[in-house]
Amino acid sequence: MSTEEREKQNSSERQTRRAVSDRRVEGVTQPIAPAVEAARQVELTINGQAVEAWEGMTLLQAAQSVGISIPTLCHHKELSTYGACRLCSVEVIRGRRSRIVASCIYPVEDGIEVLTESEKVAKHRKIILELIQARWPWVDKELLEKYGAQPGRFEEKTDFCILCGLCVRYCTEVKKANCLGFVGRGAERQIVIYPERAIEMCPTCEGGNMGCRSVCPTGTMPNEFAHTGPRFGKKLPLAYPVKSYSEDNVREVLHTVGDWRMPWVRSQTMPGK
């Protein structure tokens, strides 16, 4: 192959790559809705109950379809699956093999037995809740009590944001605004706002209501940019109510941001302290 030809191939490769990545957004691994064409029926049992589902559905969807509730945090039915909080972990048994999977991403399979509240699941869910609690001390009491979580077992690293990524996905996928993203790795991971995008996009978002706030389970997203903070006793996976909004506020806050790291999260005094 000549250099020219190769260059051509490489460039077409790049183009396909771009086209393909455009279609896919962060974290999407499979369609959320059951595949319409030739969807095959799948039979499984959840907590001993026989459940009929369609191929392409997740365990969570199958469970919800028969009224079995599984606690979730980073999952939202309108957004792509992410599988990061692991709160929705369930036990899947096939034959003699048992494993723990995240029900929000695991596809339904014929003949599997799913246990959403097995001993193992409850034990793991308890620790996950304790870890979340160490980071965000306002986790729903009912949920904590249900799994016997001991608040204070782990060192508090209080932070408003629990990095569920709902706001990022909402902004990217629903709004296609790309104002939010992740930076850093491991313990340094943070959600940041890109001011140059935000100034342009946020004022027009949902008639000025900033949709990302409506999906934030912790109230971290600036509410009116007026340091309201999270509400006590809200259920963990609940959406945070959107309040009134004025364009001036966005401008003001974004201008005082300085660096992009959401100083309203870091500098604000923690409620309840």
């Binding site: 192959m1 191939q9 790559r17 599988g83 991403i105 793991h124 870890l131 060192e155 491991g186």
Partner: protein, 634 residues
């Protein structure tokens, strides 16, 4: 350069290369791998070149810069063919002597030879104990070829396996052979390569990819690096065979940017293959098209995880994604993608050439072939070793590694890097293969093997690996991100002497949850260093927690330096060397460490003359009160 248009062309080229080489001609080979490079092997090679030039021997004697020989402890390594005289730790000053004595005078310079345990010098590389117990199938050619010369590789039978595959075998045949050989992934998991290939081949989709994972990042491991640097064509040939079997026309090599020599040598190799028409369209005149893109990693350890690596190749942040649908079915751009580690690919040409039966004859029931380990830590002979699967750990550490440095006592060996665990002395006879290591609570990993002696604190080791992982976790899922951080909090507490009774249970609970719930293999295996040390060295943890004592004397908060007044001769050496002025005393007055000022750097212990031996490390005991006003030396 004429393109190779048929199998005959390749064979003609090979014959030409072999004919042009006179096997009786003298050839100096100099290891130019990373280890020797650090010992200035390049300077040695340059000195050889100028020395040969000066003496007018350039035509008569060949000079070859080769890949890594493995015995990094004693680099730079020079081997003189055809007699295979092996000189170790060669310095540029030795060069003129080697040329005049050995090459011209045919005499051996004894002081540069390896000296065996019996005090007798050993002339040939293969007789040195470090090499004698190894079987170097994959790594052996490294020392014979110049990695930047495709002709060297072809001369040794390179691309013969590719020819065999393209002209004599169907893709199904190839997969069958690899399955039969039971080649398991060398990157850590040990998943059977043939089955992965088959899944990728059978997955729906026109465009498929094959990928070389050269994102080796375990602390202390460098075998993939040395293989890619030293013999890039063997990896590329394996990759092409895999591509043919799977039905892929595009390959990727994901190599760390921190491996500049590997990046360079792979780049050169690919260019040479293109020139010969071994990459591109209609390879060797067949209908097989294939090309390779080198993707340089941006320094994230987690990108060595297959789904994260593929995300990175797509141009996004290297973050793992759930693999409930395998990457073999949905990988790069959602297309079937087959990823294998450098060493796995490198085994493929050998299996094709010699057959599955031959390969199956080496190793154990469940793990076939050989494995390259990077043997580092407190052993006498550090370096890269390739041994058949199933060799007991003891043989690797004592026969090849030459035992523990400084006659210290062996304590444990850490295998598998941050995802692996430690193995104590009681399990030293464990045959090393995928299944046995997993059973012992560790893992094969990519082949890192860190030997630890009695001066190592296992709690500190666990803390080290967790600290590494806290930085390298991508931070996406809660079990891994929060779990590692909280484990680290607990471990720090234990090392500082403020550990709590319930800490071991907390670590066990956390570890259990992470193993089951974390999103990718990094998080699932992150607790291994902690859980395996608790499993085998529980009493050491308990000493830290209950008695505030670090038995190995490593944890700074738990040790004190103490000068024995009976032994101190008031020589003032430690006083003068203490960087913080924490030693009291004077001429003829016994020295005393002022504990409040001491930063525990250990300088006093190091400088105290051994004939006095007055300074010692104490842990978990009261420091005897110093006599007021000082004691006179008796």
């Amino acid at each position: 350069m004429p393109k190779l248009k048929s199998l005959l062309d390749l064979e003609e080229l090979r014959k030409g290369i072999i004919a042009s080489k006179d096997p009786s001609k003298q050839c100096i080979t100099i290891c130019s791998g990373t280890g020797c490079h650090a010992y200035a092997s390049e300077k040695v090679a340059d000195t050889f070149a100028s020395e040969l030039e000066q003496q007018g021997l350039s035509e008569k004697i060949d000079l070859r810069r080769t890949g890594c020989h493995g015995f990094c402890e004693r680099g730079p390594i020079v081997v003189i063919f055809p007699d295979e005289i092996c000189y170790l730790s060669v310095k540029p000053d030795d060069v003129s002597e080697i040329v005049s004595e050995t090459l011209v005078g045919k005499k051996i310079i004894e002081r540069l030879l390896y000296v065996g345990d019996d005090g007798k010098p050993i002339t040939h590389e293969n007789d040195i104990p470090f090499y004698k117990h190894q079987i170097r199938l994959v790594f052996g050619d490294n020392r014979l070829i110049n990695p930047q010369s495709i002709e060297d590789y072809i001369g040794l039978g390179g691309y013969e396996a590719l020819g065999k595959v393209l002209f004599e075998m169907t893709p199904e045949d190839v997969i069958e052979v690899v399955k039969k050989a039971n080649l398991r992934g060398r990157g850590g998991g040990g998943f059977p390569a043939g089955i992965k290939w088959e899944t990728t081949r059978n997955a729906p989709g026109d465009a498929k990819y094959v990928i070389v994972n050269a994102d080796e990042g375990d602390p202390g491991a460098y075998m993939d690096r040395s293989l890619l640097e030293g013999n890039p064509h063997s990896v590329l040939e394996g990759l092409m065979i895999g591509a043919y079997a799977i039905g892929a026309n595009q390959g990727y090599i994901y190599v760390r940017q921190e491996y500049p020599l590997a990046v360079e040598n792979v780049g050169v190799a690919i260019e040479q293959m293109r020139e010969y028409g071994l990459l591109g369209e209609k390879i060797l005149g067949t209908g097989f098209d294939f090309d390779v893109i080198v993707h340089r990693g941006a320094g994230a350890f987690v990108s060595g995880e297959s789904s994260a690596l593929m995300t990175a190749i797509e141009g996004r942040v290297g973050e793992p994604r759930p693999k409930y649908i395998r990457t073999a079915v949905s990988g790069i751009h959602g297309r079937p993608s087959n990823l294998n580690n450098v060493e796995t690919w490198s085994n493929v040409p050998l299996i094709i050439k010699h057959g599955a039966k031959w390969f199956g004859g080496i190793g154990t029931e469940g793990s076939k072939g050989t494995k390259i380990f990077s043997l580092v830590g407190k052993v006498n002979n550090t370096g890269l070793v390739e041994v058949p699967m199933g060799m007991p750990l003891r043989d690797i550490i004592y026969n090849i590694g030459g035992g523990i440095r400084g006659d210290k006592k062996f304590k444990a060996v850490q295998t598998g890097g941050p995802s692996g665990g430690v193995i104590p002395e009681s399990l030293l006879n464990l045959p090393v293969d995928f299944d046995e290591l997993s059973k012992a609570g560790s893992m094969m990993g990519s082949g890192g093997m860190i030997v630890m002696d009695e001066d190592t604190c296992v709690v500190d080791v666990a803390r080290y690996f967790l600290d590494f992982l806290a930085d390298e976790s991508c931070g996406k899922c809660i079990p891994c991100r929060e779990g590692i951080q909280q484990m680290l909090v607990v471990l720090n507490r234990i090392c500082e002497g403020t550990g709590r009774e319930e800490d071991l249970d907390t670590l066990a609970d956390l570890g259990d949850m992470m193993r089951d719930c974390a999103l990718c293999a990094l998080g699932q295996s992150a607790p291994n260093p902690v859980l395996s040390t608790i499993q085998y060295f529980k009493e050491e943890y308990e000493e830290h927690i209950q008695n505030h004592r670090c038995p190995a004397g490593v944890c700074k908060e738990l040790i004190n330096y103490y000068i024995d007044p009976e032994k101190c001769q008031a020589c003032m050496i430690c006083m003068r060397n203490c960087p913080v002025g924490a030693i009291d005393g004077g001429k003829n007055i016994v020295h005393v460490v002022i504990q409040e000022k001491c930063t525990k750097c250990g300088t006093c212990l190091e400088v105290c003359p051994p004939r006095f031996g007055a300074v010692s490390k104490l842990s978990g005991v009261e420091i005897p009160e110093a006599a007021a006003g000082g004691i006179k030396v008796r």
